[in-house]
């Protein structure tokens, strides 16, 4: 080998990453054996689902530089697809089997709308839960990225789109349940296995999906496509002159992220036992950005753990109103501090610490770019002598 000084930081080596990701997922699988409390398991399932959602954002934001403030749109669409299928499996109280869902009856709807019909098939519902958000994102991505809209404008368009979808769902109460969402759902049943919200089975399902999503996303980031995504994040204009159609890569990252978010949304319906317009709320959508930033936008696992830790702590403190208020204040402060001083989040911090403890890089420990300052702030001419 010619590059005798070749050195990849410990936590960025592929095998180390696979080992850590695997270990975390394994640990999550063992939780139910240590904990015999269905109520807590349900709570944890909820946090893990939000972890999947944050990880999806990391894929488009952290790796491709697309700040999607409307991530909750994909999440909500997935969630509604699952809820529609499960709703049609319940036996309505008023109309009997095969009858209209209760909220339609209350809204004087006389026959099932055409777009509800296919959801009698659970398979269709599950496929739609991934395909609908993905295609929606692909269409929006095509509209935005083919027009070379970048940066803050992408953030604003995605946020505005989220609000539009949210408004429409609330407005079309007759078909969507409006503010109340879709409630009173049947229990999900796949291949004869029942996934009750308060059961180990559901917890295992969530962890399994989380594991699959993490490794799929890891695979994407390690592929050449993932590398080109990162190049686009770094210097979009330059990538074009190598012959890559930048918009296609962005559409891919955007819709892959939406597909994962849709999957998470479906699981959320199963865990929460309803679908609600708040699942497509601005509040949640911006929340995802916080989790992602705090955990580390450029680390899939970091983003997921960020969501799990933040929502977990929020859940623990939500018992008391005063605590919750203070907590929101604290989160705001932490968030601003992270944006200012830790652009790579806690994952970046962990990376720097591990590097200091175990690293043997040509660079001196505590390299500026590992810790805080954005790489752009690194003095251009600085070149470590040890590399020669």
């Amino acid at each position: 080998m010619t590059d005798v000084n070749a050195y990849v930081p410990v936590l960025r080596r592929t095998w180390v990453q696979i080992a850590i990701y695997g270990a975390v997922c394994l640990a999550l699988f063992t939780v139910p054996t240590l904990l015999d409390n269905d109520f807590l398991l349900n709570k944890y399932s909820r946090y893990l689902v939000l972890g999947i959602l944050a990880m999806a954002l990391s894929l488009s934001w952290g790796y491709c530089g697309i700040l999607n403030l409307g991530q909750a749109a994909s999440f909500g669409l997935g969630s509604y697809c699952m809820a529609m299928s499960l709703k049609l499996r319940t036996v309505p109280v008023h109309t009997g089997a095969e009858g209209l869902p209760d909220f339609m009856v209350w809204n004087n709807v006389t026959s099932l709308p055409w777009f509800w019909e296919p959801f009698y098939s659970l398979t269709f519902g599950i496929v739609a839960g991934i395909a609908v958000p993905m295609l929606f994102a692909a269409a929006l991505g095509w509209f935005v990225f083919k027009g070379r809209i970048t940066g803050v404008y992408v953030a604003i368009i995605t946020l505005a789109t989220l609000v539009v979808v949210n408004l429409l769902i609330i407005d079309q109460q007759r078909y969507t349940g409006g503010f109340n969402g879709i409630t009173d759902l049947a229990i999900l049943e796949i291949f004869g296995m029942e996934f009750d919200a308060y059961s180990r089975a559901t917890y295992y399902l969530v962890v399994a999906v989380l594991t699959a999503c993490l490794f799929c996303a890891l695979m994407i980031t390690k592929s050449k496509t993932g590398l080109i995504m990162q190049a686009i994040r770094d210097h979009e204009g330059r990538v074009r002159y190598f012959g890559y159609d930048v918009s296609n890569f962005k559409i891919f990252a955007f819709s892959a992220s939406a597909a994962i978010a849709g999957l998470a949304g479906m699981l959320y319906t199963v865990v929460m036992e309803f679908a609600s317009p708040t699942f497509l709320g601005v509040q949640l959508s911006l929340g995802v950005v916080i989790w992602c930033a705090v955990g580390g936008r450029q680390s899939l696992l970091g983003a997921a753990l960020g969501a799990i830790v933040v929502t977990g702590m929020q859940g623990a403190l939500s018992e008391s109103e005063i605590f919750l208020e203070t907590w929101t204040l604290l989160m705001g402060i932490v968030f601003v501090a992270v944006v200012l001083f830790l652009p790579k989040g806690l994952a970046g911090l962990a990376e720097a610490i591990v590097e200091r403890l175990f690293g043997r890089g040509p660079r001196s420990a505590g390299d500026a770019s590992e810790f805080g300052a954005a790489p752009a702030a690194t003095p251009a001419g600085r070149k470590p002598e040890a590399a020669e």
């Binding site: 809209i149 604003i156 505005a160 609000v163 408004l167 929101t328 402060i333 601003v336 200012l340 752009a376």
Partner: protein, 289 residues
């Protein structure tokens, strides 16, 4: 005919408030490239300042206005010096940081002033109506219109007739070159941000007698004001006036027609399409590539 005029005045009143909020946002966004999501919170703080000055010091709204401007401007200045200035190289992160700062301000107000609605009294001298062109119009709304007109002229003069304004325009063109000529861009940025925040504070104080005051009140303002700025473009102050007028009248008509949700969705969609095809705004001829 009366109905049309009535509707026109309602729209004009909305437009004047929109312009006041957007003016501050425009200055901050147009000159520093910072999308200040905390701008709505400056509006909210202005409204709360009006409430607090009345409740604790017994100061009426009119005498408090200058004080409110100074209070909110100082807060804006602190925010720029403390946080925003570290992020000029990272425009995407300013969105996140200003939003976080907005959350902090909302939460602080909620903790110290309570989450319930507050009300601010309208100045007695202005709380009656008069007839204009045969239509009944609230004097207070005319007052707001005049204040906004004055502030607009002041802003224009500041930009084009003062030393600081000239430096500011130099920095907008090229920050590095301006710095080479000895212009202290840091100081100018701080002052600009403070001025923009102060304007938002004034807007909040002025609307406080018309609307109830709550910690969340800023959110709607920031969205509407941002639409005004995007529509008007960053090149000229007058584009902002035209777009504020258009959006104000539009909002008035929508409110009259009473189909709020669909109208809101349509306006947002229009904004999305506008950004996609004319990110430089409607009233800008052509921007250099």
């Amino acid at each position: 005919m009366d109905l049309v005029l009535q509707q026109f005045f309602t729209g004009l009143s909305i437009a004047s408030i929109l312009l006041l909020v957007a003016l501050g946002l425009w200055i901050i966004y147009g000159t520093m490239g910072v999308i200040n999501l905390a701008h709505g919170e400056f509006v909210m703080l202005g409204a709360y300042s009006a409430w607090a000055l009345k409740t604790f010091l017994g100061l009426g709204l009119l005498p408090s206005l200058v004080l409110i401007f100074l209070i909110v401007a100082t807060l804006g200045w602190i925010m720029e010096r403390g946080v925003i200035r570290y992020l000029y190289e990272r425009p995407l992160d300013t969105i996140l940081a200003t939003w976080g700062l907005g959350v902090i301000m909302q939460q602080l107000v909620r903790l110290f002033a309570g989450g319930e609605l507050r009300y601010v009294e309208m100045p007695e001298t202005l709380s009656h109506s008069t007839f204009l062109l045969g239509v009944e119009v609230s004097v207070y709304r005319i007052f707001i219109l005049l204040v906004v007109a004055v502030l607009f002229v002041v802003t224009w003069l500041l930009m084009h007739r003062t030393d600081i304004g000239m430096k500011l325009r130099a920095i907008i063109q090229d920050r590095d070159v301006a710095a080479c000529f000895g212009i202290n861009s840091d100081r100018i940025y701080g002052l600009t941000f403070a001025y923009g925040a102060g304007l938002a504070g004034l807007a909040g104080a002025l609307v406080s007698p018309l609307k109830s005051v709550s910690p969340e009140m800023g959110t709607t303002y920031v969205v509407d004001a941002f639409m005004v700025v995007v529509l008007g473009g960053l090149e000229s102050l007058f584009g902002t006036v035209v777009s504020a007028f258009l959006l104000g009248e539009l909002t008035g008509i929508i409110a009259y027609l009473q189909n709020d949700t669909v109208a809101k969705a349509l306006v947002l969609l229009a904004i999305v399409v506008l950004i996609r095809f004319r990110p430089q705004g409607l009233f800008v001829s052509r921007v250099r590539s």
